[in-house]
């Protein structure tokens, strides 16, 4: 018996801990869902207010009590407050809706009314006695909003009730939107219809040409040759800039024309010109929210000089050549290159890319090896770039 008691207690405590964990997990899921739903709910409220702007319910400015905002069953009061605040903000910024938000403590307070038919405990808006005092004198109306998740659809219902004892509903509307639809994120003081917002979105996707100015920092490393007598080239640091052109705002295709300069004192200097063509791989149009992946291919012409430029020759460097280079003028090499690679762009502002490059005139060089063998060519150089676009 003495052994059984601790065992039962531990089982009981274990079950309690499981409950706590499950409750915590449920709350986390609720918060996540509410976060996803919130922007879509904002969209529906914006659409409601836009409707009141374009087709006002009232001819003159009218006092409206925001009587009740209910959120999808299972989501908390935090979301309710967010929606109330958003609706209030949008209404305040759009006075042409002819609705003036007013506070009505007696409408929202819990009122106890006792009469011959019984005792009723309810909110003020549900009490005819309270409404008689309000509606007839002030002409107030109550606005009720309900947001509910129905399958994959978020549905907003709204109604306006005149606060008189008969409580007639003077206006109602039901709107819905699929949750897969991206939120329009309309500005509160510049509401647009869904059609206009869609037109702008498509214009952004397919609109006119775009020019950006990239600034790239590049490191090219060169593979060492197999010949033990060969002297490999050191990594080359390049600073590049030029123009990047896209035929449309979708930026599915792009091209860039760049010039670059490299310098490491006592080692090398260099100049280059480069052309590159990009193709978007991660969709049909650049994403406004996610990183974009591009593949690119291009060519360049480089000229490099300085003690380290001696490696860009087909023959292995000898000790005599090294001595001769140091006594006479620094060696200079000019050569074309072809490269291909991939580029990840973040918001079309920051890019990170990697590429392989081959120097066709130095495919038999004993000073340079290759990282990969592809399309019958040795790709002797591997480079990484960080780009900032302006």
């Amino acid at each position: 018996m003495s052994m059984l008691l601790p065992l039962l207690m531990s089982v009981a405590f274990g079950a309690e801990a499981d409950d706590r964990i499950q409750r915590a997990q449920l709350e986390r899921v609720r918060a996540q869902v509410a976060g996803e739903v919130q922007l879509t709910a904002y969209d529906l409220l914006d659409e409601l207010v836009l409707g009141w702007k374009t087709d006002p319910v009232f001819a003159e400015e009218t006092a409206v009590v925001l009587a009740d905002v209910t959120v999808p069953v299972g989501m908390g009061t935090g979301m309710q407050s967010l929606l109330e605040n958003h609706l209030s903000e949008v209404l305040l910024r759009n006075p042409d809706t002819k609705m003036r938000l007013v506070h009505c403590p007696s409408c929202m307070a819990t009122v106890v009314h006792s009469g011959p038919e019984g005792t009723v405990v309810s909110r003020g808006v549900d009490q005819p006695g309270v409404l008689e005092e309000l509606g007839e004198t002030d002409g107030k109306h109550a606005l009720f909003i309900d947001i509910e998740a129905e399958g994959a659809w978020l549905v907003a219902r709204a109604r306006l009730t005149r606060l008189t004892p008969d409580l007639p509903i003077v206006w109602s509307r039901t709107l819905s939107t699929a949750t897969s639809t991206p939120s329009l994120l309309r500005a509160a003081d510049d509401l647009k219809s869904a059609e206009d917002a869609r037109r702008e979105y498509l214009q952004t996707l397919r609109g006119g040409g775009i020019v950006t100015i990239p600034l790239r920092f590049t490191i090219r490393s060169y593979a060492s040759g197999f010949n033990s007598f060969g002297v490999g080239a050191p990594p080359f640091l390049w600073l590049q800039s030029g123009v990047e052109l896209a035929p449309t705002d979708a930026r599915a295709w792009m091209s860039s024309f760049i010039v670059g300069y490299a310098v490491v004192p006592q080692a090398y200097q260099g100049l280059m010109g480069q052309a590159r063509f990009y193709r978007l791989l991660s969709g049909r149009a650049r994403s406004l929210t996610r990183p974009d992946l591009y593949a690119f291919v291009g060519g360049s012409v480089m000229t490099v000089w300085g003690p380290s430029a001696g490696s860009f020759r087909n023959q292995a460097l000898t000790a005599d050549e090294l001595l001769a280079d140091s006594e006479r003028n620094d060696p200079r090499a000019t050569f074309p290159t072809i490269h291909f690679g991939a580029d990840v762009r973040l918001g079309n502002r920051v890019g990170l890319s990697g590429f392989y490059e081959t120097i066709p005139s130095l495919t038999n060089s004993q000073n340079l090896g290759e990282y990969i063998w592809f399309l019958g060519l040795p790709w002797q150089s591997f480079g990484v770039e960080v780009a900032f676009c302006f």
């Binding site: 038919e117 994959a152 509903i169 109602s172 039901t174």
Partner: protein, 213 residues
């Protein structure tokens, strides 16, 4: 006898079913977590221009159908199963009730409707009432936010009757106690059985109760 290509196609569709259906590599829970709609390519391209290309102007050699699947907004298990079932089709149900009310009692067209919802959860009852009010307004009816009241004694008596007798009795009491006037009508949306997920509705006018759904 099943032709070989049909047989292969059948096997293939079982092993690799379309996105909304469970299969060898997709559990029932995963399939139930999405709602899928079959769309033509042109329609899908209009709805998702950034993801789906429109069909070429000269057509293609095959017809391409697309299934657009959307994750359910509220995941399974987050709400009571019955609440989820009722809320899933609330808009359709509300429209159906409004249509049935107008169809079964066309003589009430000029009355002002009040709406009540009887459902175990107060939050869901409020949503059912809201949806029904809006559906009646959309159908062209005049609707009031008022609710008829019963006295405490009436509630005690009515709660001891069977549902059919209770609603008819309540309707009679509304008329006699003056809770509803000559120009009023009441639409009550009800769940009669705890296991029921479809909503029933009745109309009360002039002390007479009638089921409409």
């Amino acid at each position: 006898m099943m032709a070989f290509p049909q047989f292969v196609s059948g096997i293939f569709s079982i092993v690799f079913p379309s996105f909304g259906a469970p299969g060898v590599f997709r559990t029932k829970a995963q399939a139930r977590s999405v709602i899928c709609t079959r769309l033509e390519q042109r329609q899908a391209a209009q709805q998702h221009p950034d993801r789906i290309e429109p069909p070429p102007p000269r057509g293609e050699y095959f017809t391409r159908n697309l299934e657009v699947c959307t994750e359910r907004l509220v995941r399974a298990g987050l709400r009571e199963a019955r609440d989820e079932a009722v809320l899933m089709s609330l808009e359709d149900t509300a429209r159906d009730i409004a249509r049935a009310t107008r169809g079964v009692r066309p003589d009430l067209a000029h009355r002002t409707f009040q709406v009540e919802a009887h459902y175990p959860s107060g939050a869901v009852a409020g949503k059912i009432r809201f949806a029904t009010q809006n559906a009646l307004m959309s159908a062209g009816a005049s609707v009031s936010d008022k609710r008829p009241l019963l006295t405490a004694e009436d509630v005690v008596v009515l709660s001891q009757l069977s549902p059919d007798a209770a609603y008819a009795g309540a309707c009679e009491r509304y008329a006699r106690s003056g809770g509803m006037g000559d120009q009023d009508a009441l639409v009550a949306v009800i769940v009669r059985d705890p296991r029921q997920t479809d909503l029933q509705a009745g109309v009360c006018a002039d002390g007479r109760w009638m089921w409409v759904r």
